[in-house]
Amino acid sequence: MPGYSDPGFDTLALHAGAAPDPATGARAVPIHLTTSFVFESSDHAAALFNLERAGHVYSRISNPTNAVLEQRVSALEGGIGAVSTASGQAALHLSVATLMGAGAHIVASTALYGGSQNLLHYTLRRFGIETTFVKPGDIDGWKAAVRPNTKLFFGETVGNPGLDVLDIETVSSIAHEAGVPLLVDSTLTTPWLIKPLDHGADLVYHSATKFLSGHGTVIGGIVVDGGSFDWDKSGKFPELTEPYEGFHNMVFSEESTVGAFLLRARREGLRDFGACLSPHSAWLILQGIETLSLRMERHMSNTKKVVEFLSQQAFVSRVGHPLLGTHPSHALAHKLLPRGAGSVFSFDLKGSREQGKKFVESLKVFSHLANVGDCRSLVIHPASTTHFRMSDEALAAGGITQGTIRLSIGLEDPDDLLDDLKRALKVAEKAA
């Protein structure tokens, strides 16, 4: 039933969460750069603090501009609500810190962004939270890793940078059998390529820095709750199902049958850890989301051309994109990601590490930097940058070698990208 009451993806990307500003008539979302909001009365103030009424108090906890972003991403993902955060890493940390404390255990995919791997493997361990890493396709491994104190399964829709596709349906089933939720990082795919909640994930988060904002201008994150996980039935989450002295003895799962996670994430996590998103950053991300469909379509078509080009080059030993039948996730990507498996992928040169460096330095349209999901095309050498803290063993587990080069395909004219790559490959080949 197309129309305002039942809008499609592109309409939601423009309108979800936002109406013309009632005070000014402004059509674009206003940026509410204010720390705090005036109370109508002492009673109103007390009611807001006690969650008797809904509204804004202080921008660390909530802000009208951020709320538009939160509603919009929730709408696009098919969730019940969201909490925006200072970065994607803050969204991951907020998710973990909301669900567990010292003594807990996580089962996570080996194919993770280096920062996430670092958080789980080193930093959270210091706070008493252990993680067992499992190859995303090792279904028996996910089952075997479960412990009595396991609180969370975690993976990326497509693992960075090998693009191992997570079998969300199967892994979420294992998680649910173990009484724990599945958290998915969908940064590289965005809801235009896949909606993890529709496939069985319970929570999904983004580094909105990447494709959601899409212009390489802002750092931000967001975590969306699908409202599907039954915390009471699980019995493993007293943080959500028993009175919490830190917030009016509230039992979050009684307050909201489906939204206990979000209540605690905002009321404790943003309040105490404070990794909130600036309203100006929220606005920039919203600007990006307005054109998400158009950009993602072009990202995918450009990626297809680059993948086809690289796979035909003699100097290239491997192209790691599920578009190719040789990729281990080819079939799964075809099933879960029919519009494409993303525009961030890696390939290996046949030459030495020095030749790899020469290749990167010879590119002119591609920018050498540590980001992905920009409208501009980007290139980086993971082993010496994004994943440099990882051991060779951990790198190998994530499908990365010393010679791997990662590309993030942007929105330029595809012929210009191919020319840039062709020229740099020639320079690198001659540098032998």
């Binding site: 309108h15 936002a18 929730s74 049958t257 939204g259 209540l263």
Partner: protein, 267 residues
Amino acid sequence: MKFTVNGHSTYCYTGGKAFDAAKPTLIFIHGVLNDHSVWILQTRYLAHHGWNVLAVDLPGHCRSAGAPPATVEEAADFILALMDAAGLDEAVLVGHSFGSLIGLEAAARASDRVSQLVLVGTAFPMKVSPALLASSLTEPMKALEMVNVFSRSTLAPPPSALGPGTWVFGASMALGRRVLASNTQVNLFHTGFKACDSYTHGEEAMEKVTCPVLFLLGSADQMTPPKAAQGLIQKARHAQVVQLPGGHHQMSETPEAMLAALIAFLA
């Protein structure tokens, strides 16, 4: 808190305050595929402002045991039994949609025990189209989506049940799925719709109601449009009508306006 009603454990949310028999009591009755949590932005405030609040999960729904009521009349008897179990001689009844019919029927059956009645998103008759009634049984997920599409009036709801950042449509869908899954014996969707559809004597019931009645109607409500409540309004002895600027998700789409109307009515 839990009461034993008709031999079954019955859950009532009390708004974060302990039940106090000395205070006046409001009983909130949810609609089809809802539970107590749809009332959070009304109940929690009132519980902290001088009222006992009992937002019930109807039998067979979520935290309450027992067979789900098959008719409005059966559900009304349950509400009166809940009042007995809680030791209440008198209460204010607040019902939404299916719950409004339950409140109406309970107030008709025991007019001396209901001091005020609030009917939110109400209509009489509350007919359900044969196609929707059938799909609630055979394709409940499709029917759930249809109901929520008809229920929402805006793509930009205000801060709601989970605070700012709540996507009301998604939250309502998720709650519907959860409530449906909470009973593996009976299809709560179909049972609730059938009860609404087959309730035939709403206007006679209203004639028996002696207390003041507040009608809270969504001006853009496509499920129970304001005009569908006119028959009941005309039969009510002491009717107040407030139109809320929203659809059928009155509690979550227009929580502030609804709370203000409730406070004014209860004063």
